[in-house]
Structure formats: structure tokens, C-alpha cells
């Protein structure tokens, strides 16, 4: 199951909430304001590292670029909208609004 997160972790509890329901192996895709979570070296970097122990983490590249985020946490994979579609091809989707 693909989990998408579209909220800034600083403003909203969505990342922390979603994190409790992830099963090992479930991919997590950050989109929209959610991508601030994977900016390298912010307060949430250790949480992202923890998630990555059991779950692949993706971030939507156009959303990163729009926000001027060039450096993302290690191990985070950048995908474009086509990559988003490919993740949806492979998984049912759980959009944590």
C-alpha cells in the first residue's frame, strides 16, 4: 500500500500519524507541502531515517523544485508525476490528507 503525505510536518500531525500505521515495505510518497519533511538537515531528518529502515521513501520532484529544496535526506528517491503513476500501478493508495 502506497501512503501519500501532503502536509508540512511542522504545521500538521499527518506525518507522525501516518507513521504509526505503516507496515514494513509500504512505500511512502511525499507530495505538495509534505516534501518539507525530507529537506536534508531539518528537525524531522531522524524520523525520516527511522521510517527508511522499513519503508522506501519517495518525494515528488516537481514539488521539491517548486520549494527550492535541492538537498534531500539520504536514501530518499525523487520521482516525477510519471513515477507517481508507476507507484500507483504497483500499489493501492492511502492518501493521508
Amino acid at each position: 500500500m502506497l501512503h501519500t503525505i501532503n502536509k508540512s510536518p511542522f504545521a500538521s500531525d499527518t506525518l507522525e500519524t501516518c507513521g504509526r500505521f505503516l507496515l514494513p515495505g509500504d512505500p511512502v510518497l511525499f507530495i505538495e507541502d509534505g516534501v518539507y519533511a525530507v529537506q536534508a538537515g531539518n528537525r524531522f531528518s531522524s524520523m525520516i531515517a527511522t521510517i527508511q529502515k522499513a519503508n522506501p521513501v519517495y518525494a515528488l520532484a516537481p514539488d521539491l523544485d517548486a520549494r527550492g529544496i535541492s538537498a534531500v535526506d539520504e536514501g530518499v528517491t525523487r520521482v516525477d508525476y510519471e513515477g507517481f503513476v508507476e507507484l500507483v500501478e504497483r500499489h493501492q493508495v492511502n492518501s493521508w490528507l
Binding site: 500500500m1 500519524t17 507496515l23
Partner: protein
């Protein structure tokens, strides 16, 4: 059993509604409930999960008279009559708010986050409200 039956059988989808917003401050919980009531008529495998502030929609003794907005907590009691019987509450969210099952207007099953994660994994469709 013919192919038609099998076909019909696979047409039954597991659809989960995840209530995440507090009532009244925004409409998501209310319009989410409206959606659940309509979907209930379609004989799918529906479940409703209350996570985070979504739990507050079930709080007893809501009196919305003063804010001039229609209350709807009692409508959750009607879900049973629509054969929507799978109501789950996230234990962590409940405890964090200092609430217990006794504070809620309907009987629910309280599950751990891991158990709810497992249920989510089984779904064909998940809609957050």
C-alpha cells in the same frame, strides 16, 4: 458456482472511510458521514476508522445549539441500521485525548495502530475525511 457468481463476488470492494477531522470546525467529518450513508446502500464491505481528532465526532453530549450548526453525532448511532457495523477507533488517539469508550456515542472496537495498519492493507479503497 458459475463464472457470473464469481464475477459478482469480486465486485464487492473493501472500502474504508478514515475520519481524521474534529467536527464543527470544518465540514469534513459531516460530509464524510453523508458519503458513508450513501455508500452503505451499495452493499460493499464498508468500514469506518476514527483516528486523531476524528474521534471527537463520536464524543457524547455535543450540543451545537450555541454555534448555530446542525449537530450530527447521533447520526453515527444510525449506521448500525444501514449495516455499517465495522467502527474502529485508534487506541493511541483515544488515550492521548484523555478519552475512553464510555465517552463515545456508539459502541466501537478499539484497536492498536498496528492492527489498524493491517486492516488498511486489505482495502481496495481508502478515503480520508
Amino acid at each position: 458456482m458459475g463464472n457470473t457468481d464469481i464475477e459478482e463476488n469480486t465486485d464487492i470492494k473493501k472500502i474504508m472511510h478514515v475520519m481524521r477531522h474534529a467536527p464543527h470546525g470544518t465540514i469534513y467529518s459531516y460530509e464524510g458521514l453523508e458519503m458513508i450513508l450513501i455508500m452503505a446502500a451499495y452493499e460493499q464491505d464498508l468500514s469506518v476508522v476514527f483516528i486523531g481528532d476524528g474521534i471527537y465526532a463520536l464524543k457524547k453530549n455535543q450540543d451545537t445549539h450555541g454555534i448555530g450548526i446542525k449537530g450530527f453525532s447521533k447520526t453515527f448511532m444510525a449506521l448500525d441500521g444501514y449495516d455499517v457495523e465495522k467502527l474502529y477507533v485508534d487506541q493511541f488517539s483515544l488515550e492521548e485525548r484523555g478519552l475512553t469508550q464510555d465517552d463515545l456515542v456508539v459502541p466501537v472496537e478499539v484497536l492498536s495502530s498496528a492492527e489498524l495498519g493491517g486492516l488498511m492493507k486489505e482495502q481496495d479503497v481508502i478515503i480520508h475525511h
